[in-house]
């Protein structure tokens, strides 16, 4: 399973802060994003950053591993 986390403005649009997504071998970050964007188009309008296991992920070709924690995030506004 992949744990997908949402925060702040994104969770407001997905209605869920955690999704459990079935892991498929070879699955990339980009594929996961595309699937979720199709389910939550309104939320993904504001998604512009992703992280895998708490690390900024800039390469959407990255292959995920089973048990990964993935998040798709809106622009930060802390500080």
């Amino acid at each position: 399973m992949i744990d997908v986390l949402f925060f702040g403005p994104v969770v407001e649009r997905t209605g869920a802060s955690l999704l459990k997504v079935e892991f498929r071998p070879g699955m990339t970050l980009g594929e996961l994003r595309d699937e979720l964007a199709a389910m939550y188009p309104h939320a993904f309008e504001i998604v512009c950053l992703a992280a895998v296991d708490g690390q900024h992920a800039r390469d959407f070709a990255t292959q995920l591993v089973d048990g990964s924690e993935v998040t798709f995030m809106a622009r930060f506004s802390g500080g």
């Binding site: 702040g8 504001i46 622009r75 802390g78 500080g79």
Partner: protein, 141 residues
Amino acid sequence: MKDQVRIQQEDFSQDEEIMALKASSMRMGGIATFLGCARDFSEGRSVSRISFDAYGSMALSEMKRIRLDAMERYDLIDARIVHRIATVSAGDNIVFIAAGAEHRAAAFDACRYMIDELKKRVPIWKKEITPEGDAWVSPHP
């Protein structure tokens, strides 16, 4: 002694943070700090309170990384970063950053670097609670 990098609900004391920063060395000649506060007015709307959401574990590890990057890049003696995650009112403290160096130029440059990087790299989101309703802040790109 409190950690050099923290996310916490409660307010912090600048005196206490500076004392902790100075404890690391008697060679610190310049300390630059940045304190971010809640404003009562933003983009033309009056703001009653501000609340936050954060990806806590990643936010803390990014803040620690920013501190280490700044220490190395500007040859700091020590640095501290504290961010509150709470519901705050106008005038309340949100974030505190301190950079201590032998001389002032490095302290200023490092302090500015840390708050700029925090805004870019740390997964924290601010929601403004206004009389007209709540709205997540969308920073300008």
